[in-house]
């Protein structure tokens, strides 16, 4: 085991996959000579050359559309949106071309779109979003949101091997904040299997990405206070998502809090809440609680952004409310 940051784990996965499979190539803005806006791809062009780590023009449509075309003729493209916010420009290519390709034409589109997402740095409305729920609504796409360095690597390996278009949301706030053990060599973390981040008996928190760590801090805070025992499930992937683990945990705890950094209305938390209401109603001892960002764009100024992103104290309050019900 090596100890790595979340961002180092992503870089390691890219390097190993480029070495392992000559069909893999990277394409994005500023990823080659410059090593990427966040330095995820630093040093890769030197090792693999300018035709496997490709500096693209400022052209999200050409980057995503080009990746689709390359995938259709047998390549394994991994493209980068410099910020996940910019994927809106390439929505049509992902939703119209890639997502529907296999269903209607029977041809696989094995490609990965890497999407640095999330706020916490005063990035403002266009450098802070978490658009995963929008894509989880589109049949034909897979959606991945790693929360730990080990998963960042293992889920990226699985994403590259997958025969479908995969959106890989890497949370910017975790890039250098998290440091943890990461297995050596190639390994794959399967899609659709939630990870129990914390074991507990009184309340289940279902979340993903950076909010896993917000939930963990909140759980520690209430535990230190003699409060409830909180179980945290990290979904890891939204499409497919692990309904069974969520339902099993709710059967055990009888209380559910769904937490995400994406905005509330139509967020993926609503899907989880609806599923639990449909399939585990008789196990619930309290109404399902959702904590999410409010239905606004992501604001810029620090106090406004802090109000927008769910904070540890918001989750603490939510846990206490649930237990008191």
């Amino acid at each position: 085991m090596a100890v790595m940051t979340y961002i180092q784990a992503i870089s390691a996965a890219l390097r190993e996959e480029l070495r392992h499979d000559e069909r893999v190539f990277l394409i994005g803005e500023d990823i080659g000579v410059f090593g990427g806006a966040f330095k995820v791809t630093r040093g890769l062009q030197e090792e693999f050359g300018e035709w496997r780590v490709i500096d693209a023009p400022l052209s999200e449509v050409a980057i995503v559309g080009g990746s689709i075309g390359a995938a259709l003729v047998g390549m394994r493209p991994v493209c980068e949106m410099q910020f996940s916010d910019f994927v809106s420009v390439a929505w049509d290519q992902l939703v119209t071309v890639a997502a529907k390709q296999h269903y209607r034409a029977g041809t696989p589109v094995p490609m990965v779109v890497r999407l640095p997402s999330g706020g916490g740095f005063s990035g403002g409305p266009f450098h802070s979003q978490n658009p995963e729920s929008s894509f989880a609504h589109v049949p034909g796409l897979k959606v991945v949101c790693p929360a730990t360095p080990a998963d960042a690597k293992g889920l990226l390996v699985t994403a590259i091997a997958d025969p479908n278009p995969v959106l890989y949301f890497e949370h910017k706030h975790l890039y250098r904040r998290l440091k943890d053990e990461v297995p050596e060599g190639r390994y794959a973390v399967p899609f659709g299997q939630a990870r129990r981040h914390r074991e507990g008996t009184d309340v289940t928190v279902v979340t993903w990405g950076a909010m896993v760590h917000t939930a963990a801090e909140a759980a520690e805070a209430v535990a230190a206070d003699g409060g409830p025992s909180v179980e945290i499930l990290d979904l890891r992937t939204l499409v497919p998502w692990d309904r069974e683990s969520v339902l099993r945990s709710v059967e055990k705890t009888s209380k559910l809090l769904v937490l995400h950094e994406d905005t509330r209305t139509g967020g993926f938390g609503a899907e989880i809440a609806a599923t639990v209401a449909e399939e585990a109603f008789e196990h619930l001892d309290a109404p399902i609680k959702r904590i999410a960002a409010p239905d606004t764009p992501v604001p810029f100024s620090p106090p406004l952004e802090k109000r927008f992103i769910p904070q540890v104290e918001d989750v603490v309050r939510g846990l206490r409310d649930l237990v008191a019900y």
């Binding site: 490709i54 449509v61 259709l72 296999h102 025969p163």
Partner: protein, 348 residues
């Protein structure tokens, strides 16, 4: 004054031989033009008989442009033809019954009823499945060309778009990237002068769409899209140039959409005089005249080809009609690909 080169018409049989076509190939082109038009005529009848659901689009007037370009493609090249490019499907070898079957939404059609029109892929024939969002397939074809360049394969991708789609950003992004990286791709604009009801002067302000090529760092050429041999010659030149590492070319084929946007549209907004003028340049009649004048094409040969095409299309319609409709439950299948599908050779 055009910036793009304006292609000359093709003259003699000798000139055509120089461009790589034997007399036998010319008869093949004539046959493919007839199949192309015949399929759409029969499709229109099937639509009126309510045997084709949804809507029905034809490419009448565009036959020479699509057949001419596709004839110049190599066996391992790929392309993303559109709904006016039936000739590409025909030349690449898609069996006509499969196209009728797809129109009808049958279970044994290329999409199993999941999509209609000519919205289907054929991996073995190098055909990518178009989407209705034009020209979304243009950057996709550029991506195939990128793959060929990375793998150093001598293959070329073809990307079709229209005068309407020339106004969209995908056109710009695809062409710009292809120019920057000198990718082996040929852009083919079917300029049929009408994007649904919108005339070209409301779509773009330059003289020719092909004039834009210079700004992207490659050559543009305007060709009479009713002259199948001129289209072939220009496409061949562009494709071989791309194959040799010379980068992209933008070919603009000038035609007129002789029918409505789809068959529900009477196209009353198209001036009568415009239709009359282009009717005189009908691509099939024009090529038939050329064959008679330059290649000693006989009535007997013409009759032979006409009856072969008629038989082919009748059998194709019967086979498609006889096919079953899909089991409703198959609507739920195939959203995601399975890992073993990556083992299949595709777009060979």
């Amino acid at each position: 004054m055009a910036i793009a080169r304006e292609a000359e018409p093709v003259g003699s049989l000798h000139e055509i031989r120089e461009a790589g076509l034997a007399r036998e190939d010319l008869l093949g082109i004539y046959r493919n033009l007839l199949v192309t038009r015949g399929m759409e005529e029969r499709g229109h009848i099937l639509y009126k008989q309510s045997k084709i659901p949804g809507s029905f689009y034809t490419g009448r007037g565009n036959e020479a442009a699509s057949v001419g370009v596709a004839t110049a493609m190599g066996p391992h090249d790929v392309g993303a033809p559109l709904h006016r490019d039936m000739g590409v499907q025909v030349v690449r070898g898609v069996e006509p019954w499969r196209i009728f079957s797809n129109y009808m939404g049958k279970a044994d059609s290329p999409t199993g009823g999941k999509d209609g029109n000519v919205h289907f892929a054929d991996d073995h024939l190098g055909l990518m499945a178009m989407v209705s969002h034009l020209p979304a397939m243009l950057p996709v074809a550029v991506g195939a060309a990128l793959a060929f360049k990375i793998r150093q394969e001598r293959r070329v991708a073809l990307a079709w778009f229209g005068d309407g789609a020339s106004a969209r950003g995908d056109t710009h992004e695809g062409m710009n990237f292809a120019g920057v990286r000198r990718l082996p791709v040929v852009f083919v604009c079917d300029n049929n002068h009408w994007a649904y009801s919108t005339p070209t002067y409301l779509e773009y302000a330059c003289e020719h769409i092909a004039d834009r090529a210079q700004a992207y760092g490659f050559d543009g050429v305007v060709v009479d899209g009713t002259d199948v041999l001129a289209v072939y010659r220009e496409a061949k030149r562009a494709i071989e140039n791309a194959r040799e590492g010379g980068g992209p070319t933008l070919i603009e084929c000038e035609t007129l959409r002789m029918e409505g946007h789809a068959v529900h549209d009477d196209a009353s907004y198209v001036p009568r005089e415009m239709l009359d003028a282009w009717e005189k340049r009908d691509p099939i009649k024009r090529f038939l005249t050329w064959l008679r004048d330059n290649a000693s094409f006989t009535e007997d040969e013409d009759d032979g080809i006409q009856s072969e095409v008629k038989r082919l299309l009748e059998e194709a319609v019967h086979r498609a009609e006889a096919g079953p409709l899909p089991d409703p439950e198959t609507a739920l299948e195939g959203v995601y690909a399975e890992p073993e599908e990556l083992d299949m050779p595709h777009f060979r």
